[in-house]
């Protein structure tokens, strides 16, 4: 199971990359895509939406189940990977390239939900 060391994670199986401008790019982990199975539908949040940490803001549906994707921190949605909604199965092949949305964290954003690769690996029993 791939868990890149340079990313942060959540216990709800999102990966989080901090960009040079301070925005966060978010996707789902290799473990998550494998558990979901073949992904066939993605619904992304609108750019400009204000979100709170822990909000369910996107949906991924595989053949077998629907799964909510949560905002890892509070902030504003500043990007959504709309191209991915036409080819949702890319998530199964390249989960760490198939980003879902970008958040500009609020000034007082709490990052307690974010854990490092080692802690995430432990949480999924690796």
């Amino acid at each position: 199971m791939s868990i890149p060391a340079d990313l942060k994670y959540t216990e709800s199986h999102e990966w989080v990359r901090t960009e040079s401008d301070g925005t966060l790019t978010i996707g789902i982990t290799d473990h998550a895509q494998e558990a979901l199975g073949d992904v066939v539908f993605i619904e992304l949040p609108p750019v400009g939406k204000t979100v709170a940490a822990g909000d369910a803001i996107a949906v991924i549906e595989s053949v077998k189940a629907a799964s909510d994707i949560y905002a890892p921190v509070s902030g504003e949605i500043v990007g959504a990977n709309d191209a991915l909604t036409g080819t949702p199965d890319q998530i199964n092949g390249t989960p760490y390239e198939s980003w879902l949305f970008k958040i500009k964290p609020a000034a007082d954003a709490n990052t307690d939900r974010l854990i490092d690769a080692g802690a995430y690996g432990t949480s999924i029993g690796e």
Binding site: D38, V40, F41, K64, N92
Partner: protein, 374 residues
């Protein structure tokens, strides 16, 4: 996990790196990789399913035909040729569905029934009750010594014959919904039935549990792709086949679950269990197919069980839904007001949004061809 039951192929599934799930108390493979690939293998070539969690039950005794004419809703008088099979519901006195099953006729005093896994104990108890109460004197024998493998797809039968060459002559002319039983030198006493749960050709094969791993591996060597419960569900949904516990149960009439064709009322003197309730209650709803419509080239989600269906004549409910790999559309079965008919437009509520869907006749797909259209 330790409480889950295992089929004789459990270790084989683990060795194939299957993703396992709890299915009605059984630890079963949901997929071995991509369930969509497994689905396409069955539609275009050959795939196989371990369905050994289902239960084989043998019935012997002189009054066997009389028993089944009373116990089940379809009429075993249709079974006149040895090996002929019949799909039927087993009803309770209130007309609800205790289980759906296939009964095989081998001789007037020898029948075999295959029932669902989760309902097997309930069914066997009910059969025992009817047998004792009616004085039929049958011997009812659950056969946990057998495993079952369903090999399905346009090339399925050919691949089975590669593994069981001595069965070819006896089964090449076998018609759908017929079975033969005989000993083969390699795997012992087997039963080959030209039945399935996918809408494709193929066999369901009852094999001694001790031999099934060798049989499974021989089929893999012939290029038959192992497929899990995930693909089994998308295939049966496309094929318009009901799933017990989801599309009907003890509280649902077969007449409201698209199963009127399996309830035989032609002989007015055949007072089978549940008949009087069915005749008193009639049909209250229609069971239809739905296809989620696309807006701007994409669908707004995937249809799932228990989503609400909004029609011009009232509300209904989806009983089973999924994404169809063959159609690349989201499809479902729904129980809707009786006035709703194929061609109508309805709405399905998904995540608080009302999304448009088309009502279609079942099945969606049969023998590799898409039949239903928006």
């Amino acid at each position: 996990m330790s409480d889950l039951q295992h089929t004789p192929l459990h270790a084989t599934h683990l060795a194939l790196n299957a993703r396992m799930v709890d299915f009605g108390g059984w630890d079963m493979p949901v997929n071995y990789g991509s369930q969509i690939d497994e689905h396409h293998a069955v539609r275009t070539d050959a795939g196989m399913f371990d369905v050994s969690h289902m239960r084989v039950v043998d019935f012997t005794g002189d009054k066997a035909r009389e028993f089944f004419k009373y116990a089940i809703a379809n009429n075993v008088d249709k079974l006149t040729v040895p090996g002929k099979a019949l799909y039927s519901c087993l009803l309770n006195p209130e007309g609800g569905v205790i289980d759906d099953l296939i009964v095989y006729y081998f001789a007037d005093d020898n029948y075999r029934v295959v029932v669902n896994a989760g309902t097997a104990e309930k069914d066997i108890a009910w059969f025992g009750h009817l047998n004792a109460e009616g004085g039929f004197g049958l011997t009812i024998t659950p056969r946990r010594d057998f495993a079952i493998v369903a090999v399905q797809g346009p090339n399925a039968r050919e691949k089975v014959w590669q593994v069981l060459p001595e069965t070819r002559d006896a089964t090449a002319e076998l018609k759908p919904f017929n079975a033969v039983q005989f000993p083969v030198s390699s795997f012992g006493e087997v039963m080959l039935a030209r039945t399935g749960y996918t809408g494709e050709d193929g066999f369901e094969i009852v094999v001694p549990a001790t031999q099934v791993a060798a049989f499974w591996n021989a089929l893999i060597a012939q290029g038959v792709k192992p497929a899990g419960l995930g693909a089994r569900d998308t295939l049966r949904l496309e094929a318009g086949m009901n799933l017990y516990g989801q599309d009907m149960d003890d509280t649902v009439s077969p007449l409201d679950a698209g199963l009127a064709w399996t309830v035989d009322l032609t002989n007015p003197d055949r007072a089978f269990v549940g008949r009087s309730a069915l005749e008193a209650n009639g049909s209250k709803a229609r069971f239809v197919g739905l296809i989620l419509q696309k807006e701007n080239g994409r669908a707004g989600g995937v249809l799932r069980a228990h989503q609400k269906v909004v029609t011009a004549d009232g509300e209904g409910e989806i009983t089973s839904g999924t994404f169809s790999p063959s159609m690349q559309e989201s499809i479902a079965f729904a129980r809707v007001p009786a006035s709703v008919k194929p061609g109508d437009k309805v709405h399905v509520v998904i995540r608080d949004k009302k999304l448009p869907a088309s009502v279609v006749k079942l099945p969606f797909v049969r023998n590799g061809k898409v039949l239903a259209a928006l």
